[in-house]
Amino acid sequence: MKRRIFSRLLTLFVLVVVLAAVAVPVTAQDDTVIKIYASWPLTGGTQAIGESMQKAAGLALEHYLADNNGEGPAGFTVQIVFLDDASPTTGAWDGTIEAENAQRCVNDPQCMVYFGTYNSGAAKVSMPITNEAGIAQISPANTYAGLTHACETCEEGEPDIYRPSGEVNYFRTHGSDDVQGPGAASWAVCLGFEQVYVLDDTQAYGKGIADEFARHAEEIGLEVVGRSSVESTDIDFRALLTDVRASGATLVYGGFVMDSGGPQVIQQMDALGLFSSGIKFMGPDGLASASLFDQIGGAEIANDNVYLTFPGPLPSTLETEGGQRFYNDYVEQFDEEPDPYSVYAYQSMQVILDSIARAGVAERGAILEAMRNTTDFEGIASTFSFDENGDSTLAGFYGYRVVDGGFVEGTLVTPTTHENCPG
């Protein structure tokens, strides 16, 4: 018996050695490499947006290298590790995966910047993790106000509860929903709507912006005749839309993203004849993507019926030199129109590379400090600085209407737009 045990232990030992020998060649730790972990949905309902953002971030790095004779920031080789935070079982972002992504960054000594997220709810999960580790996080798309500063409809204690270390480590290069929601309400007044029905998807972003919209709407005399939440797993909204019809609303405001029920609501509003009886839909930046048209079954449904707000000019209308270069190179390289949010993926990537260059060392703290000190940065959408909360100093939103399958007539919307309507 003993002998057998011994011989087996020997085989075991041999196996371990073999295993180690097999695994060793994979080893490669390089001091000159800086990794950026990017985390947003690359599959599921938001796939089109996520992939466009991925391409834009890669393009930003490419352009940087081209401008600096192939030399990375401060001599480092920058790698972007793209992680998907969508769950294959639901096709929508998943908090568990997001937390694991952030933990992977924290536990990888080469990870210096966490680049994400797309969904504000996901940022609530990763922010405390990156904050505690002192890693800079920059989001290309989150607009929920409570991530950076307190607001009227935000949760108590926000944003400090996401900052266990007490330091600010989260930045965004665009505005937030306490400007966008009220701006949309003001714009709706300008467009001549008087009764509005407000819907949301119960998520951080969707509910947050719907709350802001409803709050400001009541203040400026736009009557909120109904307020309801939608389950993203539900597939049949007829009963809800019957209620909308009965409420006498002429506008439906929906706080949605692509994978949380927004396309279904628009599609069924059309199928149930709400659009044909003159009721319109207004949505936030989460629905501002050409992929919306595929999911609702054609742009003709949205034409003249859908209004959307977005935190800046669209890729094709960028005015800066860098912006035009981005747009032209993107179209040339990938043979498709960039998604609106790819602008901010590109711009955030610019900020990351600039921060690494200014920090000069591969240290999380130094890069975070450099990012915090970003001032008068010339991005492709605008020139901005970060304030003490990590917000961009430039926080404008534009209203777009859908005409002929495209977003047109970008008008600047602010919470006071209704006092002096454009055009």
Binding site: M1, I5, R8, L9, T11, L12, L15, V16, V18, L19, V22, A23, V24, V26, T27, Q29, T43, S87, P88, T89, T90, D94, G95, T96, A99, E100, A102, Q103, R104, V106, N107, G121, K124, V125, P128, I129, E132, A133, E155, E156, G157, E158, I161, Y162, P164, S165, D201, T202, Q203, A204, K207, E231, S232
Partner: protein, 504 residues
């Protein structure tokens, strides 16, 4: 075709048990590789995939052999070996991690949590034979109780070490509440009712985002000390073990038990001192802190609760004059490994004790034949309720630790898939086998979290392999169900019966 299959099955069943296991695991892996190869069209790193598959198979084989050796070894050497492996694992894994780029230790932590959860389900399904399709509900209750107790905006912020036990208790209460209506039902109908509960609870959790007219206590438990919690935990474990060993059958014997009495006195003293400490501290503490709150956000709705409390060692920091928060553990996987191994260890020991206890035998009697068991003096109602309560408490404990490790919880965490994954772990490992569920749970969770979620997508970057994981699971499930219906590591009933015969 039917005949060939039967022949194959017979030939397979003639093999010795450990070879069967190897063939089953190997077949499972081979299916995934073949499916992966069939699926690929253009670019893939075949060499790397074969490499990593080989490594994975080697790991499984090592785990298998270890499992077998440890069973032959004398008991004290067993404990030492398992102890050494358990204690050194994170360092080995950290080293391996540097080589492979996969978050191994994090995945092992997750796997251990799933083992703990599966042990709870094993009590319900394996021991007592009650088919539960909504077990994730208890996981949810544990995790949400933890969330509610530690979410900063709720202003309770109970210490981690105290909160996890509260979660276990709350989950076991819910286990009994949910178990009660199902006691009359058998078979499929029981499964349907548990499934319905499993669907209702996440829905309720989603809708309790805005909850009016609730009370919330303000800062009332922050002062309780770390040591008190350790004692309380020790007391609980001891009590549990004594109840299981039938030292304590009613209130009278409870009072008679000397150990319990001593510990109870110490506990009372400690609680008193804790309360004193709170009152004496300069924190604002008023008895009137139960205030009426309108519109409290209890569960955070679909957004879930984030961030949640992490274990903090405020008292240790204070007494050793260290900087505040210097011992915060955050996402350090090594720390979490030890925390989880501690909790999972408690659950394993409890499950093992339960297996051989009077209650364990009662469960098995009910499982085999409820009517006969009733006739022999086993109270099926009490027995089943205890199965639900104990199973749920394991799950509540594991859920609380998981919530804290993740730092966030969402209703999405507790969907049907989780219940089914756990059920698959229990059934594939061998129903009713504590060690089997441990090994099987580790292998299946790591297979899922490392091989399917990281290795395959790495090898086939352009293919949607991650979405195919349920295809693999389905195939593996069918394969094992057809060829080895008793599971990979079934209970060695025969061996044990023989031993028992020799002892008595």
């Amino acid at each position: 075709m039917q005949n060939n299959l039967t022949l194959l099955r017979h030939r397979f069943q003639a093999l010795p048990s450990n070879q069967q296991q190897l063939v089953a695991v190997g077949g499972f892996l081979a299916t995934t590789v073949v499916a992966g190869l069939l699926n690929q069209v253009i670019s893939f790193d075949l060499l790397k995939l074969i490499y990593l598959t080989l490594i994975f198979i080697t790991c499984v084989v090592i785990a298998q052999w270890l499992f077998n050796y440890i069973q032959i070894l004398p008991r004290n050497i067993q404990i030492v070996t398992v102890g050494i492996i358990a204690l050194t694992a994170p360092f080995i894994l950290r080293e391996l991690e540097k080589m492979t780029d996969f978050g191994l230790l994090t995945q092992v932590n997750r796997a251990l949590i799933f083992v703990a959860l599966a042990q709870g389900l094993n009590v319900v399904v394996g021991f007592a034979g009650l088919l539960d399709l909504g077990y994730a509900a208890f996981f949810a209750i544990g995790a949400y109780t933890f969330g509610i107790l530690t979410w900063p905006s709720h202003d309770i912020e109970l210490s981690f070490f105290l909160a996890i036990w509260v979660c276990a208790v709350v989950a076991s209460i819910f286990g009994m509440i949910i178990g009660a209506p199902t006691l009359r039902l058998r078979g499929d109908y029981l499964a349907i009712v548990t499934l319905a509960f499993g669907e209702i609870i996440p829905t309720v959790v989603r809708n309790l985002g805005d909850f009016s007219f609730a009370f919330r206590p303000v800062h009332y438990l922050n002062g309780l000390t770390f040591i008190f919690v350790l004692f309380a935990g020790w007391l609980l474990i001891n009590l549990l073990i004594r109840v299981i060993r039938r030292d304590i059958v009613d209130m009278e014997s409870l009072q008679r038990d000397r150990l319990v009495r001593t510990v109870a006195i110490i506990a009372v003293l400690l609680i008193a001192s804790g309360v004193m400490r709170v009152i004496a501290s300069d924190r604002e503490f008023e008895l009137k802190s139960w205030e009426l709150v309108e519109d409290i956000n209890l569960t955070g709705g679909s957004q879930g609760l984030t961030p949640l409390g992490k274990p903090s060692f405020r008292l240790v920091e204070e007494s050793f004059g260290m900087e505040k928060n210097s011992l915060r553990v955050g996402v350090n996987p090594t720390f979490w490994y030890y925390a989880i191994i501690f909790v999972t260890g408690i659950i394993l020991v409890a499950a093992r004790r339960l297996d051989d206890s009077r209650l364990g035998r009662a469960w098995k009697a009910v499982r085999e034949d409820e009517t006969a068991a009733d006739f022999m003096g086993v109270d099926p109602i009490r027995t089943k309720l205890l199965a639900f309560a104990i199973g749920a408490s394991f799950s509540g404990l594991a859920g609380a630790v998981y919530a804290s490790m993740l730092g966030a919880i969402f209703p999405e965490l507790f969907r049907f898939q989780v219940s089914i994954t756990l059920l698959i772990i229990v059934v594939l490992s061998g129903r009713g086998s504590v060690w089997g569920v441990l090994v099987g749970g580790l292998i299946i969770s790591i297979f899922d979290g490392v091989y399917l979620a990281q290795v395959l997508p790495d090898a086939f970057p352009d293919e949607p392999v991650e979405s195919l994981r349920w295809v693999f699971f389905g195939a593996g499930l069918l394969f094992i169900m057809v060829f080895r219906p008793q599971g990979l590591f079934p209970v060695r009933t025969k061996a044990r019966e023989q031993n028992q015969g020799a002892n008595t």
